[in-house]
């Protein structure tokens, strides 16, 4: 168990800079999830922390000790790979013991550690099997077991569940969360799946193009996204964005119009906004409701009925697409115009410039 501090970490491959100065503090025992779309640099960042890739610039400190130039082994971390990376010619026992043998640990101690990890992960009956004889979920457990036996300072997970099917993924997600509570270890987990991020993390780090967009607790990111990217990335189905222009603004309200929509007055501090400025309204599908008296009209394109929830996808008069999540089942059908309105206080406002920051930056929810 340990804390981790990254200070302006950069990473380049040749001329191409992948990470542009990452600053991050991870506290002892925290479960941190790096999330972002493909190519955002999250896996590279994890590999830099692991020591598998040298950082081009900046420093990495574990428990305050600078380990930037330490080898992967000397950092005392353990990594669970996306492909599991089990040694195919060794039994499960040997896979778990391999790292300990490298440390020249006495045999009886190795056996004890392997047994403890195997029991914890319920793979103690599989110790004599080869990885080829295991199912995907069992291999995943062995890969995690291999990390546990080494008793590392920090666990690193590189998209560990992406090779499992949906049902198993949900199960392993729960088990990993439990494992984190049992071991009280610091864990860093990379995923492109925002559901994994939301459900498992103490702290989420949203990355885009090698930069951190926002760091925060899962619900903070959901409720107070720092910009349009985070707002769109966190939450499923994703947030709706409607472009609008400011018609009037004062210290306690902003009026906006969007084409085909009535003027809407938002009770928010409009200081710094100018009349005529283009902005984006952000409304989550679950924050829109059907209301015969609603100000907005939507033409329904598609209805997805999941039983417990229904998603209505439609088009606004401005031909912008919009999705609504409705509890329970709905009688709305394709082609039908419906009246809707945003739930009060649930509209986000984003600048169309300055990296599409939330407006005002301090309290984006209106």
């Amino acid at each position: 168990m340990a804390s981790l501090t990254l200070d302006t970490i950069t990473k380049s491959f040749g001329q191409l800079e992948i990470l542009h100065g990452i600053d991050l503090d991870i506290a002892d025992g925290e479960f941190v999830v790096f999330v972002g779309p493909s190519g955002c640099g999250k896996s590279t960042l994890l590999r830099v922390i692991a020591g598998l890739e040298p950082a081009t610039g900046g420093t990495i400190a574990i428990d305050g000790e600078d380990v930037t130039h330490h080898s992967a082994a000397a950092r005392g971390l353990a990594m669970v790979f996306q492909s599991y990376a089990l040694y195919p010619h060794m039994s499960v026992y040997d896979n778990l013991a391999f790292g300990l043998e490298n440390m020249r640990m006495p045999k009886d101690q190795i056996t004890q550690r392997v047994q403890t990890a195997a029991t914890l992960l319920q793979i103690d009956k599989l110790l004599q099997r080869k990885p080829g004889q295991l199912s995907g979920g069992q291999r995943q457990r062995v890969a995690i077991g291999r990390a546990i036996t080494r008793n590392p300072k920090i666990f690193l997970f590189d998209e560990p569940l992406s090779n499992l099917d949906a049902e198993l993924r949900v199960q392993m997600r729960i088990e990993l969360s439990k494992l984190h509570k049992d071991l009280k270890a610091t864990m860093i987990y990379v995923t492109h799946d925002q559901v994994e991020a939301m459900t498992m993390a103490d702290k989420i780090v949203v990355l885009r193009d090698g930069r951190i967009e926002q760091i925060g607790k899962p619900l903070d990111l959901y409720n107070h996204p720092a910009n349009k990217f985070v707002a769109g990335f966190i939450g499923s189905p994703r947030m709706n964005f409607i472009s609008a222009s400011v018609t009037a603004c004062s210290a306690n309200h902003v009026s906006v119009t969007a084409s085909g929509l009535q003027e809407t007055i938002l009770p928010v501090n409009g200081t710094g906004l100018a009349q005529g400025e283009t902005v984006s309204l952000g409304i989550r599908p679950e924050h829109l409701e059907l209301d015969a008296a609603g100000e907005w009209t939507l033409t329904v394109d598609l209805v997805e009925q999941l039983g417990g929830t229904s998603f209505i996808h439609g088009t606004l008069p401005s031909s912008e697409a919009l999705s609504i999540a409705v509890n329970g089942q709905t009688g709305v059908s394709h082609g039908q115009p419906i009246r809707i309105r945003p739930k009060p206080g649930m509209v986000h406002l984003f600048s169309s410039t300055e990296g599409e920051r939330a407006l005002p930056p301090s309290s984006p929810r209106l």
């Binding site: 082994a73 790979f81 089990l86 080829g132």
Partner: protein
């Protein structure tokens, strides 16, 4: 007036070619359709498979299967006559003549001492050559698999000798090794003495091993390189995270995972070493004396080069070699089959 960019012209030209080719292909297919349709009517759709492999089977029968059968017949018949009809049947006499030895380790106690000298030479050659071949090609593959400047260039360099004809290889090395060759010139100019590289029995044997390794190593290095690259990189990363020392990574991860490939290389190079002939025949002619005369050269000379053409004896010797090679081939097939299934 329309103006065509040169790029566009070449595009229309290639389009014309494509169309021309397409027309020719369709024409050919149309022309072939009636006869094939007629054949299919006779033999049915399953029988067509045999029709399509027939040309290959005919060539194989005439040039491979038939000579093999003839070889067996020659081995069972005597005299120096070429026409099979004129050769008297002698049963296993040729084999018993070949195997007639008081002590198989003492060449001089054997009736066919030249055969046994060739066998002894071949066994020593195979042992040395295969060991050197596997060790050197493994080292080469490991180096070529690593982070190396101009890796593509070096990969090509090691493969070039494989592309050369064996005779060319032998002539190049003869030019280097002969009495007034390049190597002796270098020795003399650096104050050394001339060495009879190709006329001293031990040196000559050494160079046959060296040259055949040099000529074929690239091929085996390439197979091993492919084997090394088939080992997932993340296994090495996992080992790195586990703090595994380099030698332990090699013995515990690289070697076990490369083993199926390594065994294939061992068997293939064994088979080829047993068959060694052309380079050595051109390089040393089997000499000095019989110091570098191997089994295939013995067969060739017994059958065709000596004044009396002992075709039966040569055929019997080649059958014995065939049995050895067959065993090795079966072994190789089993190993590669096993490697695929496990």
């Amino acid at each position: 007036m329309t103006h065509h960019a040169p790029d566009q012209d070449s595009r229309t030209l290639s389009a014309h070619f494509a169309r021309g080719f397409g027309l020719a292909y369709t024409g050919l297919m149309r022309a072939l359709e009636p006869p094939f349709a007629a054949i299919q009517k006779r033999v049915g759709i399953k029988g067509m498979a045999y029709v399509f492999v027939a040309p290959n089977m005919i060539i194989f029968s005439v040039f491979v299967a038939l000579p093999m059968i003839l070889n067996i017949w020659y081995a069972l018949t005597g005299s120096n006559r070429l026409m099979i009809g004129e050769r008297p049947f002698v049963g296993l006499d040729n084999f018993s003549a070949l195997l007639d030895c008081k002590d198989y380790l003492d060449v001089n106690s054997c009736k066919q001492d030249r055969f046994w000298r060739a066998v002894h030479n071949s066994v020593l050659f195979v042992a040395l050559q295969v060991t050197a071949m596997v060790a050197l090609s493994l080292v080469t593959a490991l180096i070529l698999n690593g982070k190396l400047r101009a890796r593509g260039f070096f990969r090509a360099v090691f493969f070039f000798p494989v592309l050369l004809s064996p005779v060319v290889v032998a002539l190049i090395w003869k030019w280097i090794l002969q009495r007034d060759g390049l190597l002796n010139a270098l020795l003399l100019s650096s104050g050394g003495e001339r060495v009879a590289f190709l006329h001293d029995a031990s040196w000559s044997f050494f160079w046959t091993v060296f040259v055949s390794v040099w000529a074929h190593m690239g091929f085996y290095a390439l197979i091993l390189l492919a084997g090394l690259q088939a080992i997932p990189a993340d296994l090495y990363e996992a080992a790195e995270m586990d703090g595994t020392p380099k030698w332990r990574v090699f013995w515990r991860i690289t070697v076990p995972l490369l083993l199926p490939t390594l065994l294939v290389v061992v068997i293939l190079s064994l088979i080829r070493a047993v068959q060694a002939f052309d380079e050595i025949y051109v390089l040393t002619g089997g000499g000095p004396g019989t110091a570098t005369q191997f089994i295939v050269q013995y067969i060739y000379e017994t059958a065709f080069a000596n004044q009396v053409h002992l075709l039966g004896l040569a055929a019997a010797a080649s059958l014995l070699v065939a049995v050895v090679l067959m065993v090795l081939t079966l072994l190789q097939l089993r190993i590669s089959y096993h490697g695929k299934t496990s």
